[in-house]
Symmetry: C2
Subunit: 184 residues, 2 copies
DNA sequence: CGATACATGTAACCGGTTACATGATTTT
DNA sequence: AAAATCATGTAACCGGTTACATGTATCG
């Protein structure tokens, strides 16, 4: 109902995973525990309440799994509204702030884009991402230059770590753009 | 008093900055707002309570700034105990989990190491960091290889982004080690 | 005179962490 | 018999976010 309701990274990850196939809370936790998506938390105290909130919002629905053996599972799948929210979220443009402050979330978004948005949007994402990352490299370089009073060699090196990371991001975006563009 | 008390990244950043010179809460917020350290939060609702906790723990102490003009500031400096906690924290070895789940915090630690720990420890940090990052690159590569069923091209590319980031980290550590080693 | 910078703080809210509870089935 | 796996959840705690309150000094 409310597409600009802000979605926490964990909720976005859940929405994205469930969009691929119905999953139980336990399935989600296993997935978080064994992949880098675990950065958005694998603890039961985060996953189950998040599922509850998403169900209450009407974005996912749980169906009792009718097996006799073991404890019954609740398999969650996306509702139409949930699908709309997910697509809206994945379609959002990238801001400079996203690239600086919410890199992880951006990559999470990107990882689900392949399924639900057009190739043109994927390309736009990569172009904007590369541009903003490039700009931020300049900002960081300027910071390095304007703080010759950087308190120590390690502080300078830590800043250079950030520069290297964003440069790698720029290269990745360029390469990914080539790959996405070449496979029609 | 308790060196294995876990310190939040924000508290560590505050401890580190104050270790360089006495600062007010406002100074800290400005610093967070204008540098990548802001990743550990610049909001007053985080900084002032954190200062309160650190003071209560006896790791920092605030002194009223005796200026007539403007509102009086409280300038915080490290106590001896706070200094000990900081050094203990900076001296810690790196675990695989740190490299996978707490990269930001690791770099924060590194940025303050130059002041308070020996060059040998800085080198050890870089060696361990490089090793663990290298190992994690292999883990991620294995994941890419073992999931040919990766749901989409963008999901694969997102994983490759992670690989590129950690590879850049390995290169950075190697280069940093050379720089630290060459300047006696 | 209004905006901005200086400066410190509080309160409501949200959500993640850790640890625990529960209980069946399968493996050692 | 014990441990591990499957499976869902709760409760206390902690701490970050947002927004607000308060008040002075300076700049345009």
């Amino acid at each position: 109902m409310n597409a600009d309701l802000s979605v926490s990274p964990l909720s976005l990850a859940i929405l994205g995973l469930i969009s691929l196939q119905p999953l139980s809370g336990y399935d989600l936790r296993k997935c978080f525990a064994t992949t880098p998506m675990g950065h958005f938390s694998a603890s039961p105290g985060a996953v189950y309440p998040a599922l509850g909130r998403l169900e209450k919002a009407g974005w996912i629905q749980g169906a009792q799994d009718d097996r006799q053996e073991l404890r019954p599972r609740r398999m969650f799948s996306l509702t139409e509204e949930g699908k709309a929210i997910l697509v809206a979220y994945l379609s959002r443009g990238i801001t400079r702030e996203d690239v600086i402050w919410r890199l992880d979330e951006l990559l999470l978004r990107f990882s689900f884009m392949g399924h639900w948005v057009t190739k043109a949007r994927v390309k736009r994402f990569l172009i904007q991402f590369g541009q903003e990352a490039c700009r931020y490299v300049e900002v960081l370089r300027a910071q390095r230059a304007s703080f010759p009073d950087l308190p120590s060699a390690t502080a300078r090196l830590a800043l250079e770590y950030g520069i290297e990371q964003y440069q790698a991001a720029v290269r990745w975006a360029d390469q990914a753009l080539v790959e996405v563009g070449s496979k029609p």
